[in-house]
């Protein structure tokens, strides 16, 4: 049984803003939070620059260096580095073959579909145990900050 996802606070709004801002290029960033037996709880997001030199309209890259910094950040915030997000400009919010070939196991993937400059939808994913596909994670709700 796959876990559900909840988001807390302004993380989602910031991610959406980032995706719109980089359109028609892909945006990317890291997700931080905690994990319960049934849920991934996303508290914070950190945008990073898309380090792909070319083809950023349909490709993104977060480097080992950016990953290390994200782990340090997680430690400072006392959260876990739970996953990453990226946008698919003018494409659906489903993982591509390229996403699959590069997928990091155990990592929560949030994919946003931005079409013609407007946010279409977003979906959550995690690599299946057999590495052959992604399982979709059910999104429960966004909890606003009190």
């Amino acid at each position: 049984m796959t876990k559900h996802v909840v988001t807390i606070g302004s993380a989602m709004a910031r991610i959406e803003g980032h995706a719109l801002q980089t359109y028609p290029e892909e945006c990317c960033g890291f997700l931080f939070g905690t994990e319960s037996p049934t849920e991934f709880q996303i508290f914070r997001a950190q945008s990073v620059s898309n380090e792909r030199a070319g083809g950023r309209t349909h490709r993104y890259l977060m480097t080992p260096d950016q990953f290390l910094k994200a782990e340090d950040q997680a430690e400072k915030w006392d959260y876990q580095l739970m996953g990453g997000y990226h946008s698919h400009p003018d494409h659906p919010a489903s993982p591509s073959q390229f996403d699959l070939e590069h997928a990091l196991p155990g990592f929560v993937y949030l994919i946003l579909s931005v079409c013609e400059g407007y946010l279409e939808t977003w979906r959550w994913w995690m690599l299946a145990d057999d590495h052959q596909q992604f399982d979709e994670l059910q999104f429960t709700r966004n909890y606003k900050e009190k």
Partner: protein, 480 residues
């Protein structure tokens, strides 16, 4: 050897939550095997079905990427820390919907680019960027030759070339892509063979057409950066404008006689070509390289500088020429630079641009003549010869350059190079018929027009210039 392996957080669910695992081993490979020995669930996470490391896995020993060391055979010492650090890549489908291979290098490529890998400013990350990048080169001539050769050699993933010319004998003095055996063949056919032979890892796309307002927008769209190797003003303004429209950098280079200019125009951050030159010079005033001459090695200096700027822009190494114009003088052997300012009133990249799509560049540069045309009467070489023989009182005016005069000239002609004419008008008698000639015609027509506008009533062009004269009237002269 006892070493510690640092596990990234997403993989800790396969190491019972451990972030650092102590293992033994002489090499990175042995250490990983022993790690998997302790946590068998890690094996399918780190290796694919073929037993290769998965794409996201990067391994570091003592802070260094093992790809720069001896890869999996890298020796480890007691107390070393081996880090598994993911890089995260992905993205939407390509337009073709095809799965695209990850940007990796095979064994030969590691050797081929080894001198780049050892440069900290380029390294693996920079070389990947080069492989992922696409460059469109406008013109496969003097500038395009060295630029394309170097960009292919250093492994730019995709190079596009635009040129519709065939190889001519007079190209070989400077266009180093071509050889004597290839005269008469289309340049791009040869260029593609040469570049592909130099580096088979590079994708070469050729466009055997002339760049125009009609095709530039769609051609540029497929490339990250445009390298301008053109030899004429209409194309240069076209390249500049479309780069500004699409937010793409324009690596500018130009050559004349012994002088070269290079800059990087990126209107998002600095000036564009129009900020530097709002308008082209009047047609005919600046002779082309064919007319004015160019030192054979000069385009290789300038084209190589353009390739350097392209590589720096792609990899992010160093400071680019954005906002600076580099001036090279081969005779004095000096490089100077001048600062360029963005023009807030620039018609394409300024605050209120008035040009937002390609215009008629031939018209803008006066090549096809939007302003009122002056018709220059023509006179055949045979007629000129008759007039000479009959002793008519007319003046033959040779407007070519001194070196051309020295190769061949009509002995009755008055020699004034075109650039000197405006200051030497008093040497011309308006009451006489003036027959202007150059090598083949364009300069003579431009100067005849100029003289007519200055009020000389009877000015004609000798059709076909001294070339036709030599062939049809006086074969004893040298052809050039």
């Amino acid at each position: 050897m006892a070493v510690s392996i640092k596990i990234p957080s997403p993989l800790r669910r396969f190491t019972e939550g451990e972030s650092v695992v102590e293992v033994n081993g002489q090499t990175v490979e042995e250490a990983l095997e022993n790690l998997i020995g302790q946590f068998s669930e890690l094996a399918p996470q780190l290796y694919n079905e073929k037993g290769e490391l998965r794409n996201f896995v990067n391994l570091y020993v003592r802070g260094e990427d093992i790809r720069y060391l001896d890869a999996m055979a890298t020796k480890i010492k007691d107390g070393d820390e081996v880090m598994i650090i993911p890089s995260i890549a992905g993205g939407g489908e390509t337009l073709s919907g095809k799965a695209e291979a990850a940007t990796t290098f095979d064994r030969d490529e590691y050797l081929r680019y080894s001198r780049h890998f050892s440069l900290p400013e380029i390294g693996l990350a920079g070389q990947r960027k080069l492989k992922e990048a696409s460059v469109l080169i406008i013109g496969a001539g003097g500038l395009g030759s060295p630029a394309s050769i170097y960009l292919a050699a250093v492994g730019v993933g995709h190079i596009g070339l635009v040129d519709y010319d065939v190889v001519e004998l007079s190209n070989l003095q400077r266009q180093i892509l071509y050889t004597s055996a290839e005269i008469g063949k289309p340049k791009l056919t040869i260029a593609k063979q040469r570049l592909q032979a130099l580096n088979p890892n590079v994708e070469i796309t050729t466009y055997a057409e002339s760049l125009s307002s009609a095709n530039a927008v769609s051609l540029f769209r497929n490339y990250d950066i445009i390298l301008d190797g053109t030899d004429n003003f209409p194309t240069r303004y076209l390249v500049n404008d479309v780069c500004v429209f699409q937010g793409k950098p324009n690596v500018y280079g130009s050559i004349f006689r012994f002088d070269g200019q290079v800059s990087l125009f990126e209107a998002k951050e600095g000036p564009c070509y129009r900020c530097l030159y709002e308008e082209p010079p009047p047609p005919g005033l600046v002779p082309s390289c064919a007319e004015g001459g160019v030192l054979g090695v000069l385009p290789s200096v300038v084209g190589s500088l353009q390739a350097t700027e392209t590589i720096k822009w792609i990899t992010g190494a160093g400071q680019t020429l954005i906002g600076r114009l580099l001036l090279f003088d081969a005779l004095a052997m000096t490089f100077r630079e001048v600062k360029l300012q963005k023009n807030p009133d620039c018609v394409v990249c300024g605050e209120n641009p008035t040009i937002t799509e390609p215009i008629d560049y031939e018209g803008f540069c006066g090549v096809s003549g939007l302003e009122e045309m002056v018709t220059v009467p023509e006179l055949s070489v045979q007629k000129v010869k008759q007039k000479l023989d009959s002793g008519e009182n007319h003046l033959i005016l040779d407007v070519r350059e001194k070196w051309e005069w020295d190769i061949a000239h009509i002995k009755e002609a008055l020699f004034i190079p075109m650039n000197a004419i405006p200051s030497r008008l008093d040497e011309l008698d308006p009451s006489r018929e003036i027959v202007v000639h150059c090598k083949e015609g364009p300069r003579a027509i431009a100067m005849a027009e100029y003289l007519i506008k200055q009020g000389f009533p009877d000015v004609k062009n000798m059709t076909g210039g001294i070339k036709k004269w030599t062939i049809e009237v006086d074969p004893s002269l040298n052809l050039y």
